[in-house]
Structures are given as C-alpha cells and as structure tokens.
C-alpha cells in the first residue's frame, strides 16, 4: 500500500514522534529555521494587504512585489530542511511495496545520498550566484534591495538541508542494519 506519507498527508495525519537524540536535535533546529520562514510568509501577506488597501485609497506601495518576493523566497528556502526531515518530499512506493522493509531502507539510504549530492550542487551554484550578485551589486528595481541578502539566507538554509539529507541517509542505514527501530506510522485520527 502506498505510504500516506507520500504527498502532504503527513502534516494531516500527524507524524510519529522523533526518536533518536540526533533526530530530536535536528527537528528542533529545523523547526526554528522553518518558523522564521513562517513569519516571513505572514509578513508577505501583510505587505500585500497594505498594497491592496493602499491602492484602494489611491496610494499604492511602490516596489511591494520586491519585498513580497524576497519574503516568499525566504519561506521556501527555510522550509526545505523541515520538509525533508519530516519525510514530506513525495516518493512513489508503489513498485517497492512488496520488498522487505530492510530493502526499502537500503534504497532510501542510497536515494538520500543522491539527494544530498543534488542539494550540494544546488547550494554550490546558489552560493556562486550570490557571490556574483554581490560583486555586481545587483539590486531590485524600486527599493534597491541587494539580491545577495536573499541568496545568503537561501544558502544557510540549504546547508542545513544537506545535513538533513545526510542524516536521513545515516538513519535509514542504521535501520537497515537493525541498529535502530523503524519509526512507527502515524495513528488514526478518529474512531
């Protein structure tokens, strides 16, 4: 049976409690980082309200979309580690459901290493891009916000993201070798 964790169902059915100390620590860190993004999202929303209300009274904010865009970017970046740590990145387990759980753990460990590799490349290019933006002093059109601000926040979040990928690869490896228990699935919501 496909894991209901595929898709966003985890958030709805409730994820299992964190188990190992390492996981607890990472959860705490990525939740804090994610909350920054959550607040940024609220900020983006409020900026938009200010624009809409302002426009209704004939005084539109100039360059509001630049603030909103930056805040939105912060939201996405800061949630990457949290999302992956909670196992919310979509996987298809239809074709592997007949395999023993241990085989799936091995596969997951390998895939998380690949994921980590991809994340490293993305982070490396992002940092290069940020450095270029800094050197050329790229700024937004109206408010002159420097582009590298967004890039640096993104880079920090992505470093944490890489750590999370490697951690999950390690965790699955330990599971495959029977060193730690598999995390229990979520519990029913009514009944």
């Amino acid at each position: 049976m496909p894991d209901p964790r595929a898709g966003s169902a985890t958030a709805l059915t409730g994820a299992s409690p964190p188990s190992s100390p390492a996981r607890r620590f990472l959860t705490r860190v990525s939740e804090r980082v994610a909350l920054i993004g959550g607040i940024a999202l609220l900020g983006a929303m409020l900026t938009m309200i200010a624009t809409v209300v302002g426009a209704a009274f004939g005084k539109p904010l100039l360059g509001d979309s630049e603030i909103v865009e930056l805040l939105g970017g912060v939201t996405v970046f800061t949630f990457l580690p949290y999302c992956h740590l909670r196992g919310s990145n979509v996987i298809v387990d239809f074709f592997t459901q007949r395999l023993p759980a241990r085989a799936c753990d091995w596969l997951d460990a390998a895939m998380n290493l690949v994921f980590g590799g991809v994340a490293v490349v993305l982070a490396w290019r992002l940092i290069e891009g940020g450095i270029t933006a800094y050197e050329r002093d790229k700024r937004s059109m109206f408010l002159q916000l420097p582009d590298w601000w967004g890039y640096s926040i993104g880079a920090i979040a992505m470093l944490l993201w890489i750590v999370v990928c490697l951690f999950i690869a390690w965790e699955r490896l330990q599971q495959a070798r029977g060193r730690i228990e598999r995390r229990p699935p979520g519990t029913g919501a009514f009944g």
């Binding site: 709805l12 909103v68 939105g72 992956h84 979509v90 895939m111």
Partner: protein, 438 residues
C-alpha cells in the same frame, strides 16, 4: 545518440528512479540536469543553476500557492469545516443519506477556500466522519463519501493544480479558476446523486435524521456567510482584475486569518501549526517545481516533445481519440503518483501534443479547456481503486474499516467522474462559457 533519444531516456530514467523511491523532485532535477548538460554542455547547466533556484523560489506569481494553502489551514483552525458541515446538515440532513449529502456540500464549500484535495478530505473527515459513524452509516458509504468529497477541494477553485498549470502554460489564473466553477458544481450535484442512489439500492446503509426547522437552518447558515464572502471576494477579485492572483490569495489568507481569530478563537499555537504545515507543503511543492523547471528545460532542448507531437499528428488519429489517450495516461499515473508531481512531469510532453490537435478552438481556449480536463483526470486518480491517495488517507483515519469497503463505496463516484469527463470533452463550453475565453 540523437537529441530525441536523449529526451526519451531522460523520461525513462526519471520514471525508473521514481519507481526506486527517489523523491520525485530529485529524479526530475537529476534527469533534467544530466539531459540538459548532455545537449547543451556542462557549463551552460552550471550557469543556469546559479540563478534558477533563487528565481524559482522567490517568485511573485508562485507565492499564490503558500498563501492559498495558508488560507485552507486558517479555515480549518478557525473551525470553518465544522460550521460548513453543520450548515449543510441543516439543509440536507433529512434527505436519504442526508449526512453524506451534507458532507459533500460541506466539502464543496470548504473547497471554495481550500485548494488541496488531501487537506479537504482530512479536515472534513474530522467533523463529518465521527457523526456518520455514530448514526450507523455503512463504512463503505461514509469512507467513500469522504474520499470523493475531498476531491472537491481541488475541483472547486482556488486550486493549487490550476495555479501551477496556469503558470506553466502562461494562461490567466483567474480564467482557469472561473472555468473550473461549472464543472465543480456539476461534480457536487453528481456526488449527491450517487449518495441518493446508493442509499436507495443498499438498504440500511444510512439512518435518517429529523428535518431541521427553518430557524435552525437560518442560524446554521448565518455561521458560514463569511466563508462564502471570502470565496466570492478572492475568486471574483482575481477574475475581474481588482488585484493580482497573488494579492487575491494574500487577501483571502488575511481575511480567513481574521475570521479564524475572531470567530474561531485561533491562538498563536494554532497559528504556529498552520504556518509549519503550510510551509512544509510549500517546500515540497516548490522543490518539485524546481525539478520540473530543469526537467522541462532539458526536454525542450532535446526537442523530443515537439518531435513526438509531429509523429503523433502523422498517425491520422482523430483529436478526440488522442485526447482520450492523454487523459487515460493521467488516470493511470494518478493511481500511484502525487498529483502535482504527475502533472509537472507530463506537461512538457503533453502541451506541445495538445496544441497540435485541432478542435476548432483558439490556443487560449484549448489550453484552458485542457487544464480543466487534466484537473478532473488527476482528481479521479486520487480516488480510483486500488491506489488512490485519498482512499488511503481516509482509510488510515478510519482505522477499523477494511480497504475493500472503501473501494466499494467510492466506485459510484468514480463512475460519475468518467461521465463528467465525457461531458466536458464533448461540450468544451461547460468550461469555456463562464470565463468567456475565445
């Protein structure tokens, strides 16, 4: 290896990797990146990646997605799901299978402020599930109803899938939302008919409840007017151009937040949960979109999709046949793949194919119409046995109900979906008349 072959292999490699539990987004990033580098060289790839991630994540138009998700979260935390269910129960409760009918009504109304199918199914289950159970509704009926009702979350605008489709095909988000309204209402009515028939033919599937008095109806309805107001404001506002889609989503999220605090007593703890859950889904979706961007760039430079479209055009098959084949592919993929991932994986190939078909429609009309068809096919995939995601979600929530029962309950709804797809394929006006796309 020719470019066409590279494009083909990208697709195959991505599918194989996905089958082996690679996260969908990563598979698309990897296949897309390798394909892009194989055709254009490594340096152009590295150069593109310098700005691609940031420009995709810090993107004004795409910000609609987290804002609509946030709106749905706030609506749940503000108890709007239960208010909507109570109101629908006051109106439909005394019908045959009234609570199930009310669930569909509540889902449709909740879908008007929530753009996700899983979220609608999960939140409505929390309020409607226990009640139907208490009244001795048959497990098949109530789990089937909840799974099908959930899909109204994406069928009725705002809908996350439509936003992404609109961005991908450069169509107006507002036009697509409005185009989805009539098919969404048809879906709701069809689902209500299914319940009525089910209860007629399976005696004892549902107990009856007393008819609510007019006073109770008015009272219950009073509780939900803000929801309808927010929906009207957001969808009409975007469509009539009072504000951009992103601003509309911002306004909707803000209004829902105010309502949730004021009427639903939402506090910081709930707010925090809403933000975390919204961000989690957002990150998941944006990562897939980043993957899709690179994947479609790679496919486009292989020219495989246009070449494929040319070859299909030479087949001399009728456009309707080809359209049905495309929809069948969605239906098939939808059985085991998350909807957004599936749509983004296939659009780069299908859009050139569809644009080459002659239905006597303009390009814009064709794309809007196809968008609605994709939306419905994706949604059918979510509830079609044996692998529909909604079925598993609902079944996981109602622990003691065997999967077989849920399958039994949902068949009727799936049949209605097939009828609706046929209707919209035959009469594109059902989607195109309201937005007036020509």
């Amino acid at each position: 290896m020719s470019r066409f072959d590279i494009g083909l292999w990208m697709f195959v490699a991505a599918l194989v990797a996905i089958g082996l539990r690679m996260p969908v987004a990563v598979a698309m990033l990897l296949a897309g990146g390798v394909g892009y580098a194989a055709i254009n060289g490594v340096n152009p790839l590295l150069n593109t990646l310098k700005s691609l991630t940031f420009s995709k994540f810090a993107n004004y138009t795409l910000l609609v997605i987290p804002l609509f998700l946030l709106m749905g979260e706030f609506a749940t935390k503000g108890g709007m799901n239960s208010a909507l269910f109570r109101a629908a129960r006051a109106w439909f409760g005394h019908w045959r299978g009234g609570l199930a009918t009310a669930t569909i009504g509540g889902c449709a109304a909740f879908g008007a402020i929530c753009g996700s199918s899983l979220a609608t199914a999960a939140t409505m289950s929390q309020v409607a599930g226990p009640e139907m159970r208490k009244l001795g509704y048959s497990p098949a009926l109530y789990t089937g109803t909840l799974a099908a009702g959930g899909t109204l979350g994406i069928l009725i605008p705002p809908s996350v899938i439509l936003v992404i489709y609109a961005v991908f095909t450069e169509q107006s988000i507002g036009a697509l939302f409005i185009a989805a309204v009539i098919p969404g209402i048809i879906a709701m009515i069809q689902y209500m008919i299914v319940i009525n028939l089910y209860v007629r033919f399976v005696p004892g599937a549902a107990a009856r409840i007393e008819k609510a008095s007019w006073r109770e109806r008015v009272d219950a309805t009073k509780q939900v007017w803000p929801v309808l107001l927010v929906f009207g404001l957001v969808v009409l506002g975007i469509y009539r151009g009072w504000f951009s889609a992103t601003e509309g989503a911002g306004v909707g999220a803000f209004a829902t937040m105010v309502l949730a605090i004021w009427l639903g007593g939402m506090r910081w703890k709930d707010m925090r949960e809403s933000l975390l859950s919204t961000g989690e889904t957002t990150a998941m979706m944006f990562l897939i979109m980043l993957g899709a961007e690179l994947f479609s760039a790679g496919l486009a430079s292989s020219q495989m999709p246009t070449e494929l479209a040319r070859r299909v055009a030479e087949l001399d098959a009728s456009p309707v046949t080809i359209m049905l084949v495309i929809l069948a592919v969605y239906f098939f993929l939808g059985c085991f793949m998350e909807s957004l991932a599936m749509v983004l994986l296939t659009l780069p190939v299908f859009i050139p194919l569809v644009l080459a078909l002659d239905f006597g429609l303009t390009k814009d009309a064709l794309l809007v119409w196809f968008g609605i068809l994709v939306l419905i096919s994706v949604e059918v995939g979510m509830i079609s046995p044996p692998f529909g995601l909604n079925l598993f979600l609902i079944n996981a929530m109602a622990k003691d109900v065997p999967m077989r029962e849920t399958y039994k309950g949902v068949i009727g709804f799936c049949a209605m979906d097939a009828v609706r797809i046929a209707l919209i394929v035959l009469f594109p006006a059902l989607a195109l008349w309201l937005p007036g796309v020509r």
